[in-house]
């Protein structure tokens, strides 16, 4: 296993300790609940924004805790939703008179943990609501009641509700905004390699040298179908076809375009994908108003990328442009 790791059981806790050590005075780390929170949270004039999910998606979500983004993140183990009492304890610690918004990517495990954790917190008098994110167009909605997965598009929901809560919006308003952003956000991903969970020590599946997985999620699970590997432009064409046709996005729309790396792909390649997506959208009369090219939500060391579109209006664009500050910092 080509990883920087000690005992795989400590993968998450050692990473979180690193995040805390790198951000003294800004972040607080509570090991018992895998909890990373802003040192100055909760703010009683602000809805607390919390995201939980499995680990292995870094920088999501522990590294987007900060002003204008998340107030706290409580990850579970690698690719496993947090146990419900992590959610419960987090909700209690972040309790604000204005309420707590729990952001949940739409997976069975995550929803159960958050439903149960929220109920327990409410029994203790905490005001909390859940907002479910489900931007992945790779999953055919009808067949499975659990429905579409939440993937990299969750960043836009985080950014928008983070900004709104910072500006003083109340819980209902924050939820309205989060739902609105989720409703106009669509993502599709492709993997060139399988990822290796540290506790497993070997790749989750085997991909031939000339194969790719089309329509992958963010947990290393195989995708919608296996295809022959094509060149970058052809991959973008296929991703765009799936994403644009789904909402659909139409000529005259103004969008945010995100090319998200899945962990093992260098940023240079992401810009090659971005270039072609930008041009093809222009061909369709769709204007890219905001650009995002980086890693936002990964699958450990998986080589791959996802493409996300968000249809912008003045409200959403204003919230996306609002100032914010996260633990992943270049300077």
């Amino acid at each position: 296993m080509k990883k920087f790791v000690n005992d795989p059981k400590n993968y998450v806790s050692e990473m979180l300790e690193g995040v805390a050590l790198a951000n003294p005075g800004k972040l607080r780390y509570i090991p018992a609940y895998n909890l990373i929170m802003r040192s100055d949270a909760p703010d009683e004039n602000k809805v607390s924004i919390v995201q939980g999910s499995g680990s292995g998606h870094e920088p999501a979500h522990v590294m987007v805790v900060g002003r204008g983004l998340l107030d706290a993140a409580c990850p579970g183990d690698v690719f496993a939703a947090p146990p419900m009492d992590y959610v419960y304890e987090t909700a209690k610690l972040l309790a604000s008179p204005k309420g707590v918004l729990l952001l949940v990517n739409n997976y069975t495990g995550d929803r159960m943990a958050f439903d149960m954790g929220k109920e327990m917190a409410e029994a203790d008098g905490v005001r909390a609501e859940i907002l479910t994110i489900n931007d992945d167009v790779a999953v055919q909605d009808s067949t499975y009641t659990v429905g579409r997965r939440g993937v990299a598009g969750n960043f836009f929901v985080i950014k928008a509700v983070g900004a709104a809560s910072e500006q003083g919006a109340d819980l209902d308003e924050v939820i309205r905004i989060g739902k609105k952003v989720n409703d106009v956000t669509r993502t599709m991903g492709v993997a060139l390699t399988a990822c290796t969970p540290p506790a497993k020590g070997s790749p989750l599946f085997e991909l031939g040298a000339d194969e790719m997985e089309f329509g992958v999620g963010i947990h290393g699970e195989p995708g919608r179908e296996r295809r022959k590997l094509t060149n970058a432009d052809a991959i973008v064409d296929d991703l765009l076809e799936a994403v644009v046709g789904d909402l659909p996005y139409a000529s005259g729309d103004r969008v945010a375009l995100m090319i998200n790396g899945l962990g093992g792909t260098p940023v240079s390649e992401l810009y090659i994908l971005f270039r072609h997506a930008h041009r093809r959208l222009a061909d369709r009369g769709i204007t890219v108003g905001r650009s995002y090219v980086n890693e936002y939500c990964t699958s450990l060391d998986m080589a791959g990328a996802s493409l996300t579109l968000v249809r912008l209006d003045d409200e959403i664009e204003g919230l996306l442009a609002a100032p914010a500050e996260a633990a992943v910092r270049i300077f």
Binding site: D77, G109, M116, Q140, T143, P197, A199, E221, R224, E225
Partner: protein
Amino acid sequence: MSLRHTEFVVRTIAETAIENEKYFGDLDSVVGDGDFGYSLARGFEKLLEGWDDLDRTEPGAFLKRSGMVIASRIGGTSGPLWGTAFLRAGAAAGHTTELDGEHVVAMLRAAIEGIKARGQSDVGDKTLLDALVPLTDQLSASLDDGAEGALRAAATAAREAADATAGLVARRGRAAYTGERSRGSVDAGATAVAVIAERISETWPRQGATS
């Protein structure tokens, strides 16, 4: 089934899950995300760590406390599902201190209903239910054969049913995202139920003898 028998069953489940961490994880890798073995093992380790402090006033209370620990300490889908199963089984046991075969079947049925409700799932969705339901049906049908005979029959039924999940398409859990591609491999949760049932059936006679 006394408190001692209940402790024995829970401990066997825990030990089997811990010993099979890698095997269960590999099964979950085929069309899932590979964390099932890890989640179960870490959660049941936690249960064994606090083993001596669990409520032992009666079997039902013991199961409920175990369910609380499991639900709150196992992540992923399995924590809530397995925790709910233990909680419901404990509740169904009520305050009875000596549980007979009928009781045990009723507890298992309660666990099954809990999983179905929590997971919004049913038999045929290619989940642990596809082993647990046939196991319970067979146990119920074989109660006249005595504990050992009934357990053996139930374990066999669970194994057959778990193997048969290879023919199903997953409609719940992470594997469901792969649609038709999930056919051809067994479900990790169902196989775990079979492995655990076989272990209980094997070790029960020994345990029975020393009681």
